[in-house]
Symmetry: C2
Subunit: 204 residues, 2 copies
Amino acid sequence: MSKHPPQIIELIDRLARLPGLGPKSATRLALYFLNRDIEEVRSLATALVAVKTEIGFCSVCHNYTQHDPCPICSDPKRDKTKICVVETPTDLLAIESSGLYHGLYHILGGVLSPLNGIGPGDLNISDLLARVNEASSTELPIEEIVLATGSSQEAESTCVYLSKKIKDLNVPVTRLARGLPLGVDLEYVDGGTLKQALEFRRQA
Amino acid sequence: MSKHPPQIIELIDRLARLPGLGPKSATRLALYFLNRDIEEVRSLATALVAVKTEIGFCSVCHNYTQHDPCPICSDPKRDKTKICVVETPTDLLAIESSGLYHGLYHILGGVLSPLNGIGPGDLNISDLLARVNEASSTELPIEEIVLATGSSQEAESTCVYLSKKIKDLNVPVTRLARGLPLGVDLEYVDGGTLKQALEFRRQA
């Protein structure tokens, strides 16, 4: 019985390990590459290696960056008394594009997830507390930590855990509001969202 | 406003052009690579370039191959009087894994699709006819061409077109049977399938 040449099998095998790709889509992709210009494929290969060799982590906030510290941490116009804690660099970009926040950031690198063996030691938590502690002895102590994690159960517990740790350092902690998302009909809102929208209702 | 470093944007941009990937999944993939070992990313990059530099097309059947002619075309045990015409190399593998066919193959490289500007000249059709013609003057003329294209409308017209061209050469043409797929309840079968299952019914 015949099969793909070993080079194609190797590529399919590697593509199939990527998140969101299965054996079928990996095969489709591999055969797609075979039909593209060698230059196009080479550029993708180069771009892949470049992100690993040219991009590192900011030693302050753990965001991806070409230069350490990252452009946000080294920007003199950012408000250095605020730190917004997010799960991932993509979350940071989402908040940046809102244009409403001008402080610094701290990337957790995920959320606490005991079932997946992710404890406080696996996230950038001790660094965050050290940052806050260090700033407290300067002329610019941290005045607010904004916890901007998602609203999953695990993100929720991470929020509670962090909130306690930061309050121990006597620094004010806030968190993103919960409620109805924009532009929904009430009849289509799930029970959990409706419950928190009621719970967090405020004076009209 | 901050954004990803240029290397990450470049990678996201290239990944988002791949079939089946959009901007969101491309971003997720790019950030995934950032968190992997450099060796793992380098291996993927190498595998990508290798399929293009080490794999070519069989000059006889147009299948992907490391050596020309491909292992199937050069296998003395294959029945050289039969050619099975398929759309893609993946289709060839599907037929191979059935274990029921031991002849040669011919890869069309797609189906006729006038709306997408794909005419007979864009598929490996003239090669197929030349192969049949050439064999007719040898001691092993082609005795059967099996048209194994899919059952889409476009595949159907391609089949009709090929069938006419091959019959002109006085070579018998067969095509895959149409009917109920395995293991379905009749109530869930779509009307088109049921219609063709009735039309092609045979003596029980």
